[in-house]
Amino acid sequence: MTPIVAISGCPNSGKTTLFNHLTGAQREVGNWPGQTVERSAGSFSLGGDEFKVVDLPGTYGLVAVSAEESIATGFLSEERPAAVVTVVDATNLHPGLHLVAQIAEAGLRQVVALNMSDVAERRGIDVDRAAMEEALGVRVVRTVARRGDGVDRVRRAVAETVASDPEVRPLVIDYGPVVERHLGGLVETAIAAPQVGRLGPPRWVMLQLLAGDEQTARAVASVDGGEAVLAEVRRAAAAIAAEVGCDVEVALAERRFDWVAAQVERITGPAPSGPTLSDRFDRVLTHRLLGLPVFAAVMWIVLRVTADVTAPYLDWVDGTISGPVSRWAVNLLDAVGLSGGWVEGLVVDGVLAGVGAVLVFVPVLFGLYLMLALLEDSGYMARAAAVMDRAMRAVGIPGKAFLPMMVGFGCTVPAIYATRTLDSPRDRLLTGLLTPFMSCGARLPVYVLLSGVFFAGHRSTVVFAMYLLGIVVAVLIGLVLSRTMLRDDDPMPFVMVLPEFRLPNARTVWSLVRQRTRAFVKGAGTTILVASVAVWFLLAIPIGGEGFADTDVEDSAFGGISKVFAPALEPLGFGEWEQSGALLSGFVAKEVVVSTIAQLYGANGGAGPAASPDGVAGDLREIGTSFVDATADTLRAIPGVIGLDLIDLSDDTSSGLQSEIRTAFEEGSGGHGAAAGLAFMVFVLLYTPCMAAVAAFRHEFGARWTLVSVFGQLAVAWVGAAVAFQIGKLVGLG
C-alpha cells in the first residue's frame, strides 16, 4: 500500500509551496468531502518507492476552532498518515513548535521542514538544527520552499522516517502534578475501554478531551464505553480547574507553552529582553494620542502623491485618447464607410468620450493603489486600523468597524461583505450603513476632475478634505445611530496581531497594484462602457420632432429625464439638467459621473479630434514625446509632496471640457461656480456609491435596510452639499 504523507503547518508557513515542490506536476485538486475547502493531493517517488502526499489546510494546533482546522486535525487523527511533514516558519518558531509538539504527542511520525531559513538567517536568527532534532526527537530539514531548496532532503527524510519503526513513542510533556495525577487515572480508564484506546495513544486522546476538542469527543462518544469515559473526563476537568484555579485547557496550554519556550531557547539561544525596532515604532504609531495625527499625515501624503504627482500622466492619457486614438477611430470608420453618421457619434462621443474620460484617471488610481499597497505591505495599514478602531469605539461605533471601512477606501462592495467579521447583527448593520461614506477609488476621478477645474493649485488638499469628510460624516452618523436606532451592545474584545514592520516587497506591491488597477480598467471596459453607450443612446433619442442622433442634447430623452430631478438640486448650486443627469448616471458607478460629464459637456463644446499632419507615425511620435514630457514633469512633481514645488500644477484648466464645466457651474450657481463644484463633490462623496454596492447591501442586510441606506445616503448627501454650497458662498468661493 502506498504510504500517505501529510503536509501540515500554520497558515503562511510556506506549506503549500513546499507541497507543490514535493509533488511537482503530479497533483489533483478537489474539495474535502462535504466541505468547500480545497484539497490538494499528489505523489512523489524515491528509490522506487512511491509516496502519496496530502496538503492539509493550515492549522495552529490539534484543537480545531475553524472548518479548515477541523479538516486538518480530523485527517491526522483518523487517517494517521505514515508520516507528517510539519512546516515551521524559522523566523517565528513558537507557533510552529506548538503544532510540532501536539503532533508528536499524538504519536505520529514526523519530519520538520524548517522553512524560510534564508530569511531567518538574514534577520540574525541562529537556529541550531542539530539542537532542534535532539530537543524534538524528529528529523529537521532546512528549506527555502520559495526556491525549492531542501526539497530533496525532505523527500529522503520522509522515506527514512516511513521506513523506521512504526511504533513511535509519543512525546510526553510534564503537565504538572495536579494534571498528571488526574491524567494518569484517565489513561487507565481509556485503556480499560479498548475501543477508546484504538482512537490513538490513550494519553493523547485523554489530553484532547481535557483540552475540549469536539472532534475527539464525538469520536469517543461513538464507541462502546465512550460516554462513561467522557463523564470521567468531565469530572477530572472540573477537579483540575478547582485545584489549579483556571480552566483545564489553559492549564495544559501553560505547561506546553513552558515546554515550547524552553525548546526555542535551546534552539536559538535566549530571547532578546527589550523591545525590537518594530515595537518602538508601534509605540508611536499606535499611540492613543499620536496615532491619529500620524494617520492623518500619512493619508495626506498618500493623496498628495495620488493627486499631484500623477497629474502629468493624466494629461498624457487625456491627450492620447482625445487626440491620436480618436483620430484613428474616425479614420477607421471612414475606411469602412461609417463616418459622419450616428455610428461615428456613438464611437467618438459615446464610447471614446465616456470610457476615455474614465481611463484618463488610470494613472491617478495607479498612484493611489501604489501608495496603499506600500502602506499595506509595510505593515502600517494594520496599525492605522488599530488606531482608527480605538477612535471610533471612543464615540460608540463598534470595535472592528474600521476594518471594513479601510476596505471601503478601495471599493464599497467588498467593504460591505467585510462587515461579516463583526460579531453581532447590530454591529454588522451599523458598520454596513457607515461603510458607503468612505470614499472609494471610483469617486477619486470626480474629485480630481472638479478640483482641477475649480481648485487647481490646491487639488490634493481638496481631495484629502473629501476623504476626511467621509470619515467625519461616518463617525457623526454612527454616533447618532448608536444612540438611537442601533443601541450599543458590549463590544467583543479581540487582539490584532500586527505584522512586523518591514520594507515593502516589490513583487507583492506590484501584484496588489496590478490586480487593483486591472479591476478598475475592467470596470471601464464593462460597466462604464455599457453606461456610456446607454447615456449616448438616451442623448440621441429625441423627445421632440428631430431625428435620431440629430437632436440637441437638451431635447433628448436623457435631457428630459434629467430635468425632472434638476429642481431638487437647485438649492445645492448645481441645478442644471446636465449636472443632475451626471449624478443620476452615477447610480450605476461613480466613474460614470465623469464619463457622463465628458459626454454632455464634450457634446456642447467638443470640436472633435484635430487632424494629424503626419498620419499614424506622427501620432505615435506625439504619444512618445508627450509620455517623456509627462515622466519628466512627474519626477519634478515628487519634491512637491514635501512642499518643494518645481512644477506648476495649476495651469491645467485650459482644456475645452474643463472650460465648459467651469462655465456651466458658474451659470447654474449664480456666479459661485467653485462653491457649486465643492458641493457637487460632497454630494458625490455622500450619495449611494453604485448599484453593485446596493446589491451587496441587500444581499447582506435585506430589502428594508437597503431602502433605509439608499434614501438615508441621499438625504445626507443633499444636506451635506447644501451646507458646503452655503459655506462656500459665505467664504467667497467664486
Partner: protein, 90 residues
C-alpha cells in the same frame, strides 16, 4: 500562570488590543506576548474572529462591480490587515 493573566486582560477589555498594549499591561515584551498568543491559539482558546466560514457565500454582485470577485474575501480590494484573534467560548 502567564497565559491565564493574558486571557483575563483580553476578556476584560473592550474592542481591539495589540501585542504592544498587552506587553505594557503585563510588564513583558511584545515578543513574549506574541508567543503566549500562539500558545493560546494552539490550545484553541483564541480563534480567528468573525463567523465567516470559508467559501460560505458567493459575492452577490460578482462581475457587476467590474471586479473579478468570486467571494467576499477574494476581492482584489480587500486590504490585508493581519489576523485578529478573539477568545473562544468554552
Amino acid at each position: 500562570m502567564r497565559l491565564t493573566a493574558l486571557l483575563r486582560e483580553i476578556e476584560g477589555s473592550s474592542g481591539s488590543l495589540t501585542a504592544v498594549e498587552l506587553a505594557v499591561r503585563l510588564g513583558t515584551t511584545p515578543a513574549a506576548v506574541s508567543a503566549m498568543l500562539a500558545a493560546l491559539r494552539a490550545a484553541g482558546r483564541l480563534g480567528p474572529d468573525g463567523s465567516r466560514e470559508p467559501g460560505s457565500d458567493e459575492c452577490a454582485s460578482a462581475g457587476s462591480c467590474g471586479v473579478a470577485c468570486t467571494g467576499p474575501d477574494r476581492c482584489p480590494f480587500v486590504v490585508n490587515l493581519g489576523p485578529m484573534l478573539e477568545v473562544r467560548p468554552r
